[in-house]
Amino acid sequence: MMVFCKKGKKAQIEVQFNWIFVLIVGAVILVFFIAIVNVQKKAADKNLAYDILGKIDLIISGALTIPKTGQIFDMPRIDFNFQCDRISAFGVDKQFQDRIVFGPDLLRGRQLIVWSQDWNVPYKTANFLYVTSDNVRYIIYYNVTEQDANELNTELPDNITKEIVHANDFSGLEDRNNYKVRMIFLGDAYYTDIHNSDFLPQFMKDMPDSAVTAVQFFENDVMFYEKRGDMLVANEGLTVKILGKPMKYGAIFAEDLEMFNCSYYKAFKKLVYVSRVYSRRESALNISYADNNDCKGQARADTEIDQIAEAANSTPPDIVGIESSEGTIATKNNNALERSCAPVY
């Protein structure tokens, strides 16, 4: 009997030990494989992001070489974070370097829409690139000037989700499940209306604050709005003077004032460096035309180009100064072409 009991205990201990042993080793193996899968998943995500961002970079480079074209690209189901100088996903980012790109802070949707425009001041200075998604809704709001709204609607690329809305129909707008809504107020939109807490349609009030933004144009000035609670709030006293239509489009596509300003100053910096080249070129042409009175001296525009460089280099850029020099340069350029001299641009 005693022997039987001893044997039974031994067997019990052996069985228990085996189970504990199997359990511990099994857990170790399981943890090990889970860790490997996690590491591999992270690596695969990074690789995917790297590949896609590389392709987006190529798309952007390509779009910049073919201005005035809107292009559509299928997008993977990944959220891309966008800043004025980089685009990123899964912690991997791709720098835009000196390229001037405007877009929302988040790109999500089925299609990536890329559009570019030449920025001429008056000579070609840069290509502006606009990036957005088919799931961002652009609403052009007007009170009286339907013609301006129609004109802007025609100018914007066809592939984006855009619509024109009269002030009276605005409150009746319905939700279309867009992750972002951008309103574009033309000059005649009433300031008091916009600031009213009843202004926004209910579906916009229900959207997160970051999902609803607006921009308002008054001739050459632009003002940015952000949603706080149920109403829109303007960045008071922070109107920005814009130069040319491509910059206006930039304000429409940029997420907010901060992101617009980043690309805005990048553009004027580029203008400074391009102007320096044009100014040196003009001085050299002046020397080359030493024996040709029609093409030298006052015919050359180095002084006005220097003025543009100086005005572009100031903070904020002196838009009025640039515009006045632009006119003189354009006249001199036409005169040079008429006299068969080398044109300024």
């Binding site: 370097q97 000579y123 910096k269 460096y273 320096r276 080249v277 070129r281």
Partner: protein, 164 residues
């Protein structure tokens, strides 16, 4: 006798586990070497694509392109713009500005017909380099005074940074 049997059993289990882990370790070593190799290959591809991207950027630079009014002539550089750019790169803060676009590279424009001439626009090694990848793109070089074209090419050498 039974104690010996169970000792042998535990020994067997430990041996199986050891072999299992040895196989896993070997797998990890193989996998990390493979990853290293593919990282090197990726680096080479990156350098080539960087060279192509830089040459593309140079070709479409408004600072160099020929233009009449706002119409740009593709694959054409204005001779006076090339000279102006060369002068500015030599004495201004331009090198710093263009580093964002050109990074560690050498950009030279060559005229090969009817005259042979070259203009080095940008050269920044940033210290140690272990090699370079070159791309060449043919361009027309236009003299706006004589209104004549020359044939040439732009040579972009993207430097490969050395270690240390």
């Amino acid at each position: 006798m039974k104690a010996r049997k169970s000792q042998i059993k535990i020994g067997e289990s430990v041996a199986v586990l050891m072999i299992f882990f040895i196989l896993i370790i070997m797998g990890i070593i193989f996998w990390s070497r493979y990853s290293q190799m593919s990282a090197t290959q990726q680096q080479e591809t990156d350098i080539i694509s960087k060279a192509i991207k830089t040459s593309q950027t140079v070709t479409f630079l408004p600072e160099l392109q020929c233009s009449t009014l706002e119409v740009i002539k593709f694959s054409c550089f204005d001779l006076y713009k090339i000279r102006a750019m060369q002068e500015l790169m030599a004495d201004g803060d331009e090198m710093q500005y263009y580093f964002d676009s050109f990074s560690f590279s050498n950009i030279t424009v060559y005229s090969i017909y009817p005259t042979t001439e070259s203009w080095n626009l940008y050269d920044f090694t940033g210290g140690n380099i272990s090699g370079y990848v070159t791309t060449q793109i043919p361009v027309a070089i236009y003299d706006p005074v004589t209104m004549k074209f020359a044939f040439g090419y732009v040579n972009v050498a993207a430097y490969v940074k050395g270690r240390g």
